[in-house]
Symmetry: C2
Subunit: 219 residues, 2 copies
DNA sequence: GTCGTATATTACCCGTGGGTAAGTAGCGTC
DNA sequence: GACGCTACTTACCCACGGGTAATATACGAC
């Protein structure tokens, strides 16, 4: 799937053009609306209007509204999977990898497709689609658990309940998608760095360093 | 609002009975269905069926489906507010209070009305209702920030970004509502204790104690 | 240029489910 | 034991919006 042009609707400027580009434009627009208004309150007419086309044209690229929703989820997971591969290759001890994962995951949660994974109601997916999504989600969770386990093994991480710790880390990170607003406050990267440091301070087996100066204490 | 009888539908066994009891029965049933099937996929007929009444009877107690949703949110927040009051009274330093808040909040997230706060789409609320809910949510967030600030002040908590830390704590806790299943794994109280200890390990200014034995390492 | 195809449009259908109007029946009251 | 109020039921409405059938048109090919 190719990258979008300047704005999603320009993908529909001309008639013959890359299908993938148009699919992507639909998903970008839909994701934005789903996040703003909610899935149900977003009508397909709304999506089409933004793209300067009409509703039935959407059915050239997606077979239903649910299918568009699934598309958003899949792109969100693609973002994560890309990071996972990099981190796996980079190597390092459990704690190092966990921190890298936190940083990357935080980045995903500040992007629309990443937000879709958390903020859109999974009940709207078809049972088959839901199974797909659940499986991909589970594989991410397993990665958290794997790095925690590795860190306990290599003694970079304190002995902790791997399952529960993975849950709370995921929660802290997923929640970013609910409060992050692009252009306000910290950037995506700054949040990632802060989380990577601070979520692991209590997990690290090495003595705790004093909190980093820099961006602190908005008391 | 009074406590429910054995099962929600028994509130409708007889005709004349406490209105509050029936309202509560409706909300209990609706919350359960909303959480299982999602708000939109739950029809008012479904709710009525479970209570052995018919849909229009619901309109004796609520003026719309949205109003039922709002009711669920309000009861969820009532659970939190009850804990907040207790913690405030109990006193203690910032860290102690923060831990108590974490424990209590975790407990709320394992209950249906607490789960509603996180898992049901707020877009379905009317603008006015949404404003109400947002305000209550904000007041909880302020409590997290207040205890963090207090802890920094009284030196029980490391200097940290209060706003970001409150966010990640809230996220870790809110996420419980997405994975907790009553009767599987740890109990609500055990989760609360674990979270109160482990989420604050990296925040505590006192040296980090080795992780508590007891319930550990499902590696 | 004209033909064929993919793409988009116009016009429409219709299932669904929230909500309501009118009528019925249980229960307390006197 | 008749009355009246409230709770509840039956029967219905209808707006909404996802989805489709039939039709028009831009673009590439030759």
């Amino acid at each position: 799937m190719k990258k979008e042009p300047l704005s999603p609707q320009s993908a529909f400027d001309t008639r013959h053009r890359d299908r993938d580009q148009k699919r992507f434009a639909v998903l970008t627009t839909a994701a934005e609306l789903f996040l703003t208004k909610g899935y149900h309150l977003t009508r397909l007419d709304d999506v089409a209007d933004r793209l300067h086309i009409t509703k039935p044209a959407l059915y050239n690229y997606f077979c239903s509204k649910h299918d568009i929703l699934l598309g958003c989820h899949m792109l969100g997971h693609d973002l994560i999977d890309a990071s996972l591969a990099e981190i796996e290759e980079a190597g390092g001890d459990g704690l190092t990898r966990l921190r890298a994962l936190i940083r990357a995951y935080a980045g995903v949660m500040t992007q629309p497709f990443g937000m879709c994974l958390i903020r859109l109601d999974e009940h709207e997916l078809s049972p088959k689609a839901l199974a797909q999504v659940r499986q991909r989600r589970q594989s991410v969770n397993e990665r958290f658990e794997a790095y925690l386990a590795q860190g306990i093994e290599d003694e970079s991480i304190y002995l902790c309940d791997v399952r529960l710790t993975a849950f709370w880390l995921a929660g802290a990170l997923n929640w970013i998608s609910r409060w992050y607003k692009a252009g306000h406050g910290m950037s995506s990267g700054e949040i990632g760095d802060y989380f990577a440091d601070n979520l692991t301070r209590g997990l690290s087996r090495a003595g705790i360093e004093p909190a980093r100066e820099g961006r602190l204490a908005a008391v």
